[in-house]
């Protein structure tokens, strides 16, 4: 069964500092990976996705993620965060072998401090 582990439940970070959110997955060979952001009292919005091709994926709002097949990881990074990046971030995996179910990690809450 596919699963997703987000290693940090909370990440405090100062404004303009870099941030990395870690995501590891367990699944079969063909996986599709996503990062979503959830602002308070809102639904989930796609940040970026990896379907195939280049392992470095760029998304919205200056975020990027790197797919590492050997380490089964898909870590999210931003070189310089803003106060507005305060939100919860979710990593998700989808696998054809699992019927294209979309499985989410437990989330990482990012708090950007001035």
């Amino acid at each position: 069964a596919q699963s997703v582990t987000q290693l940090d439940s909370q990440v405090p970070v100062f404004e303009e500092a870099p941030v990395e959110l870690r995501c590891n997955y367990s699944s079969s060979v063909s996986v599709y990976l996503f990062w979503y952001v959830q602002y308070p009292n809102q639904g989930l919005q796609l940040l970026l996705k990896y379907l195939s091709g280049s392992t470095l994926v760029k998304g919205i709002n200056g975020f990027e993620a790197e797919f590492n097949k050997s380490q089964t990881s898909f870590h999210l990074r931003k070189p310089s965060v803003h106060i507005s990046d305060t939100a919860e971030y979710f990593c998700a995996v989808s696998d054809i072998a699992a019927g294209n179910k979309l499985t989410f990690g437990g989330g990482t809450r990012v708090l950007v401090k001035p």
Binding site: Q6, G43, Q45, A92, S94, G106
Partner: protein, 115 residues
């Protein structure tokens, strides 16, 4: 283009009552999902559907039922509500392109409290 629409946005139920959470999408997506979100627990899959007439259980289906009579609609039914079903519920939809699942689009959520 409305995307994924959920109703109601908020609801308070008494223990033992039942209700239906509505979800409709206008993107002609095959796949639809229901998740519940509890604090610190991420999103847990309740039920999903790969097309009209086809549904399957997710991780936490007990106490819920679904139907998919049309491509657009995927209602979630709660029978005999219990306090453990207090949560925020999200509906999502996505399509397949060449067999590859694209990103999911989410509704704004339904905040349900069972008292």
């Amino acid at each position: 283009n409305a995307g994924v629409t959920q109703t109601p946005k908020f609801r308070i139920l008494k223990i033992g009552q039942s209700m239906t959470l509505q979800c409709t999408q206008d993107m002609n997506h095959n796949y639809m999902y229901w998740y519940r979100q509890d604090p610190g627990m991420g999103l847990k899959l309740i039920y999903y559907s790969v097309g009209a007439g086809i549904t399957d259980k997710g991780e936490v289906p007990n106490g819920y039922n679904v139907s998919r009579s049309t491509t657009e609609d995927f209602p979630l039914r709660l029978e005999l509500a219990a306090p453990s079903q207090t949560s925020v519920y999200f509906c999502a939809s996505r399509s397949l392109v060449g067999g590859v699942g694209t990103e999911a689009f989410f509704g704004q959520g339904t905040r349900l409290t069972v008292v």
